[in-house]
Subunit: 282 residues, 2 copies
Amino acid sequence: MKLEKNPMDFSYDTIIRGDCIEELKKFPDNSIDLIFADPPYNMQLENNLYRPNNTKVDGVDDEWDKFASFEEYDNFCTSWLSECKRILKDTGTIWVIGSYHNIFRVGNIMLNLGFWILNDVTWYKTNPMPNFMGTRFTNATETLLWCSGNKKNKKYTFNHKLMKKYNGNKQMTSVWRIGLCIGKERLKGEDGKKSHSTQKPEELLKRVILSTTKQGDIVLDPFFGTGTTGAVAKKLKRRFIGIEKEEKYITLAHNRIDKIDQFYEEADWIEESASLKSQNEQ
Amino acid sequence: MKLEKNPMDFSYDTIIRGDCIEELKKFPDNSIDLIFADPPYNMQLENNLYRPNNTKVDGVDDEWDKFASFEEYDNFCTSWLSECKRILKDTGTIWVIGSYHNIFRVGNIMLNLGFWILNDVTWYKTNPMPNFMGTRFTNATETLLWCSGNKKNKKYTFNHKLMKKYNGNKQMTSVWRIGLCIGKERLKGEDGKKSHSTQKPEELLKRVILSTTKQGDIVLDPFFGTGTTGAVAKKLKRRFIGIEKEEKYITLAHNRIDKIDQFYEEADWIEESASLKSQNEQ
DNA sequence: TATAAAGGTGAATCCGCAC
DNA sequence: AGTGCGGATTCACCTTTAT
């Protein structure tokens, strides 16, 4: 695996250290098969507002500041999403995950930029955190927006038959029942604390990558974190490029992905199995 | 039940015939306990869709669902949502239902207007229409945004214990597994065709009204249609006001609601049952 | 009368190529 | 851009008809 080398050489898996927007600008047009993005959404936690760069916003009680904060978040998302649209192939699609805190702003921006929503997939958590105060319904979901770059792009990759096999011979729906990333899968430091606050379960990325790429395709994750996207891409024989700002996450991701056996065969098992069953049906 | 009389007399259930925005402007500030809104989704359907057996899908082609642009739709929603915010009591909340076609625009507007999202509830359909062409995941959900008018309004009505009982003594989550409105519940004309293209199931409104109102509260539905909100409100001993533009829907709603026994006791059964069990637990 | 088979339907942004 | 046509494509549930 390459680390911070020339990202335009798509022969190798790569992690780029740098600012997401600045790095995305360096990519050529129409060069990426799939984008998976898990952007920050720490907009309004308790009584504090944070900017996308994690600096705190003062004066949260003022309507002006609240709007200013929305505006700043919107500008940030407009920038990175515009670059994503530019570098996506005509056959490519993008996934963006978020919660109710940010997904309505993200979705609105994507529509304004001309993205075409194919599905709003609901990650229905098997083990969500309860609402301890009894003031709301238990928040049991996150939302993934799956979009093509343009309404006219009809030839996007979607492995319908594969996902049908994967789902017990019935069409997979837009509701995915998956547990939180816990246990052995969750990366933890020597102190036993979780290494990253929002590590996603591999099963989620497995469905994303299996359904909307082919083997050998290039998967880009502009908010790479501890590299779940890269780990699953490697297991499924796809290539990946990750962009991440923080050195500590890059180190964790690098170690994690290098451990994965390059002859890991799950991709073939799943896809050949589906292919065979499909043939037998005919 | 009153029909098109003085809507400001909250002693009676009322259906107002008129334009949603114009009628909302007539309401006094801070006067409504709950709003349930099922606005047009702006589906943007273009071509016909055929099933595998070559029959045509009877899609939504109503004039009321057509908007010229995102801007026109946004302006429409900003207007009616602004009035909703004004007339909502400090203890009141609002529900808005939508699909991926419109919910990201609606959610964005609500955030901009200062609404505070309490939950994004997923209506997870037990029997969604499949994706016939195998081009996407089966679209199995609609989304309900449940919001207070302001972040600072902490005293909104939420019947936590009741919903826990209703859900088998476990916290109800933000995912509601409910079937489509079909069979005897679905209003049909003499020709056997559905009377309204988007009638909602009563179970959905039952959860909305049970969870976020008390008996006697005033429930407003600015897009009343065939009156599901009114029917469920009456069964659960809440008062309702509906606004609807089309005479044919008003007639259907009026006949439907007048059939409901005024001594329908489900409200008491449910709520007393929950109350008793709750006491036993302590 | 009961059971089985056949037919209908739901807020849907649902094909791809040749001419 | 529009038209025509070959070919691939569906799940749960309710109603009607057949056995």
